[in-house]
Subunit: 384 residues, 2 copies
């Protein structure tokens, strides 16, 4: 297996954007190519991550991106794994580079849905659940994560104010991220006073529907060394699955796919959770970040909430979580999110994260799942 | 690299089907698992091919399939490359097995769109073109392939009756395929008298919108030998791209991605087109099969039409093309099509194709593209 590296990253701002899905994808791709200092023709494949191309009338977006980059002959494909699409596309690109099929690959995630409105988004997003049992019965994602939140609050004596602390922290981080969708400081009171979406989750417990695109260039170590002295290594990669519907799981307060993917990634990287300096995790709802932080091994079961209460997951804490602002504040353009996490990790480890830089960070982890965690990918990166 | 084999195949009937997209995918998957004689738990990953899950309200279908197979922990993903999705999913599964990431993988393609009606289908399918230039200007796929047909007829002195011969041949083959969508014999007159869709293409020059699912089990050679004596080897795999919009191409009578993908596949297999005993090619419209047969090297440029006129591409001809009935008669459930081609190739090489068996076949080729060939994958198989 070849060692695999990330040598460039680019991203649009996340938010309600006017540009077309194709334009957003091309902007992020050009950004990553420029950042890597390579020529488009050095790219041997395009791994695109996108869920709802139908929203902006462009499915099969890979060839459109490659054609606009001036490399129409280069093969591409789109990968969908609901909200975890980006990390799964990254994983496939990783696998192809590690195996030697390609020496340099573009990974671009993109989504453009805001113009369709909240009803369309909530409805179509519910198609990513096990629709026969969940979406079709009216259980859209806020409702499903509310069930998980209720179970967690009851089992571990946590409060709604505890959940709010996750939102407050991530907004504090996002305030320092010029590309974040929701760049504003909020308080626990703001969260508590925001409208109930699905009790106990309120509006400020939920990430926004975002538009945006993120890209990275991943390549073999030889390719990296030929082009730059500044890059990061992919030292761990793991994937896992969970029962598609919540009803098929033994517990509501843990996500099996996260544990499976994390175990594989830690094993490959030959590290433990203690070695991780910061993590970008899938905080689609505040409760998710707490559960993730336990499933990833940063806290014992039921203790993730203490991590937030005690400020351990803040940017200057023991294990900073979502220094980018996370899905909650940075935003959640679902096809782009997992790639965006790699962009943040690259910028953090390369010392390009400005005011939100996590000090002395050497190892970063990304965790991104689809739906209520039916699919998941975890990656671990180290400064080369 | 590991040698990669196909050890089992399953497929639903193609047509206007009542079952849900999930049920179709599960039926085909169970069929392939049973055919391979393996246990679901031996499967290490699921590569799903699907384009319009939104049509039947189930996106992120991988975890639903894996959960229903009793292996929810196994990772899965969906791959989209328009009408070429199935072969691209197969390619990714191939790459992962070849690299040793997984020893046995389920590849399932599925589509369920008929219930949405022709207007929905034509509109949504046009999102797979370069929508800014093509679909958005009213150029849906029949129109785009009509442009290619006009150019071919003019350049090579071919006639509309020549195109009709492709449909007649493929319907003759499909008549012997119990899973084909359009199982009826047609004549050149039937084609010529059918309604004009986009001149010179008439209704019978066009493949149908189909529902259906197809699955194969692909695995390492060691895994294959541990489970069965009967399997086929993947001896060639290639991918390529073309300018997304027709206007970006130098010629309308050739598809660059086919040539790129085929060249790579032939090189890997260390064979020439003359060594191929039969091929399943992408005949979304009659003109496409003729162009494909030239781009794949079976005929010189402009001579593909002679192949049809002289009956060389019939089941008992020199180079049988689409013994299954092809997209034209077997049907075109777009996510399933590329996987279905592998199912046919497996059945042909294993002697399971009944009356439509190509005699003394040892090497089969599959060719499947997305849109007007913006993305393409070619695979070559040999009886083990």
């Amino acid at each position: 297996m070849e060692k695999v590296c990330v040598i460039g990253a680019g991203s649009t701002k996340y938010g309600k954007l006017e540009d077309s899905i194709a334009d957003l994808a091309i902007q992020a791709s050009v950004g990553a190519i420029d950042d890597a200092g390579i020529e488009p023709k050095e790219i041997k494949a395009g791994y695109i991550s996108n869920v709802f191309g139908v929203a902006d009338k462009q499915v099969h977006i890979g060839p459109v991106i490659m054609s606009n980059l001036g490399i129409p002959e280069v093969p591409s494909l789109s990968i969908e794994s609901a909200c975890g699409s980006g990390s799964v596309a990254f994983r496939e690109a990783y696998a192809n580079v590690a195996a030697g099929f390609y020496d340099a690959v573009l990974v671009t995630g993109v989504e453009k849905v805001n113009h369709k409105g909240t009803e369309w988004n909530t409805t179509y997003f519910s198609y990513c659940s096990d629709f026969f049992y969940e979406g079709g019965s009216g259980a859209s994602f806020p409702g499903l994560f509310a069930s998980m939140a209720r179970a967690y609050l009851a089992e571990f004596k946590a409060t709604e104010e505890d959940l709010a602390l996750v939102a407050v922290k991530n907004h504090d981080n996002g305030l320092l991220n010029p590309k974040a969708h929701l760049q504003r400081k909020i308080s626990v009171e703001d969260v508590m006073n925001s409208p109930v979406v699905a009790s106990p989750l309120k509006l400020y417990d939920c990430c926004p529907f975002s538009d945006g695109a993120s890209s990275v260039i991943i390549c073999s170590e030889n390719f990296a060394k030929d082009h730059t002295k500044d890059y990061i290594d992919v030292i761990g990669s793991g994937r896992g699955g969970s029962p598609a519907a919540l009803q098929g799981r033994d517990h509501l307060t843990t996500i099996p796919s996260t544990k499976i993917a994390a175990e594989a990634a830690y094993k490959m990287a030959n590290i433990t959770p203690k070695d991780v300096d910061f993590a970008e995790v899938h905080d689609c709802f505040t409760i998710a970040e707490i559960i993730d932080s336990e499933d990833l091994g940063f806290f014992e079961k039921g203790k993730g909430v203490d991590g937030v209460r005690e400020g351990l997951t803040k940017r200057n804490g023991d294990i900073p979580i979502n220094p980018s602002g996370g899905l909650k504040s940075k935003g959640h353009p679902i096809g782009a999110t997992g790639v965006g996490q790699v962009v943040e990790t690259f910028e953090q480890l390369m010392g390009k994260a400005g005011e939100r830089t996590v000090k002395d960070a050497n190892i970063g982890l990304t965790h991104n799942f689809g739906a209520t965690g039916a699919s998941c990918a975890v990656h671990i990166f180290r400064r080369a």
